[in-house]
Every structure is written in C-alpha cells, then in structure tokens.
C-alpha cells in the first residue's frame, strides 16, 4: 500500500504504511482494538449494512497520528465506509499530531465534515461514528424538534468543542 499523501484540494484514500511502529502502544486504545477483533468488527459491519448511501469519514492528522491502531480498524470497515484523508479546517489548538481527527458529514457537494472525534478509544469512537453514519445515510439524524428549530435560527457559524471522556 502506498503511504498517505496530503492534498487538501484532492482528498485521497487513507492507506497505512505497512510496518509502521505504533506511536502509543500502551494507550488504552490498543487494548480496545484487541478486544474488538473479530466479533466486534462483525457487529459494526452488520450495523453498516443498514446504510442507504455511502458515507465518508474524513481523517486528518500528521503521519505519526495516522499510525494509531484505531485507524486501522476503521480501514477494515471499507468499503462499507468511505474513509478519506483531508485537511479540514481544524482549529490550531486541536492536537492532531498525536491523534487523528475523525469527522463525518453530509456528502452533498462542498459540504464540510461537521461531527468529529479526537483521542477516544477505538471501540467507543467506532461505535459512535457508525451510529452517526447509519443515521446520516438514512436521513434520520437524531436531532430533537427543539434542536432543529433552534438550529434553523442560527445566524452565524458556531464551532463547538466538547472536552469530555467516554465514560
């Protein structure tokens, strides 16, 4: 497989470099990935079969960040998910040199990915990504009526960062 390239104007399919050393092998993420194989993956694949259209997950981060095992798990879900690398408008303070940012959003032309995760264990992150991807593909985004009404009234763009933990 070819190394990942970076071209903001022309996103490329993500490919891991064979033999790349994992950056943080002691991270909880590694254990989660180990637990996830292969039954976990089968569950995710089953969930993704419910998708009505292909959804793209955009991955951003430098080469070191892209060596994390959770990205490898995400790649195993291709072609059910379309995994691509791009350089979105990531905030400067978002530490994409250690962990990739995973974002998905509508596939309409010109739409930027809008829902993202950074630094979470693979199992949690993939669960959440797959849930959102299925909902998005079916046009069934789980926003409440109150939320939809409020969001229609937004005048300016808003960027939200949720600093949290998966527990």
């Amino acid at each position: 497989m070819a190394p990942v390239g970076r071209d903001p104007g022309q996103p490329e399919l993500v490919r891991l470099v064979p033999g790349r050393q994992l950056v943080y092998s002691t991270h909880t993420c590694a254990a989660k990935v180990k637990d996830m194989l292969p039954a976990r993956r089968a569950l995710l694949e089953e969930a993704l079969q419910e998708m009505e259209s292909l959804v793209t997950v955009w991955v951003d981060g430098n080469d070191q960040a892209l060596a994390v095992p959770d990205l490898e798990e995400l790649l195993h879900l291709q072609p059910l998910l379309d995994v691509r690398r791009m350089t979105p408008d990531v905030e400067p303070w978002l530490p994409t040199d250690r962990y990739p940012v995973y974002r998905l959003g509508p596939q309409d032309a010109g739409a930027a990915p809008r829902a993202g995760f950074v630094g979470f264990p693979a199992g949690f992150m993939l669960d959440a990504l797959c849930d959102l991807a299925v909902a998005l593909s079916r046009g069934d985004v789980p926003a409440s009526p109150l939320a939809r009404d409020t969001l229609r009234q937004l005048e300016r763009d808003v960027d939200v960062k949720i600093l949290t933990s998966p527990g």
Partner: protein, 72 residues
C-alpha cells in the same frame, strides 16, 4: 456528545468535535476545565464555556445567543 453531534449533522452552521480530555491534559489547563464535559462554543471572536452536563434546552439557548452575537 451524541446529542451535539446530531446537531452538527442537522445544521450546516455548526461544527462539533468531541475531544477525549484525558489524552490532552494541556487542554484542561488551557481552558480551566474543572468539570466533564466542558463545552466550548465559539462564533467569530465570541466564546462561551459551559461546565458540566446541562440539559439540551439550556445548551441550545446558549448556542443561539452566541450565534446572534450575545455574549450572555
């Protein structure tokens, strides 16, 4: 978190990133985080920080205020 991500998929004016705080202790210092989750909303040069788990109506109201230019 899933609530906010759903908002982001429902509105082209919203981007939502969830960050695993335990992996980025420097962000705790930078944003003076003393509760999880802490939500930071930004629109232009306006910013709001909301600490702790808050009900959806309260979060949406703050979002709307910020988008309309009210620091609150």
């Amino acid at each position: 978190m899933r609530l906010s991500h759903a908002w982001a998929l429902a509105s082209s004016k919203l981007t939502v990133d969830a960050v695993e705080l335990a992996q980025f202790p420097e962000l705790s210092d930078r944003f003076h985080v003393n509760a999880v989750p802490t939500v930071i909303m930004r629109s232009g040069d306006r910013r709001a920080t909301l600490a702790g788990a808050l009900p959806e109506p309260m979060l949406l109201a703050r979002l709307l205020q910020l988008s309309h230019g009210d620091q609150g």
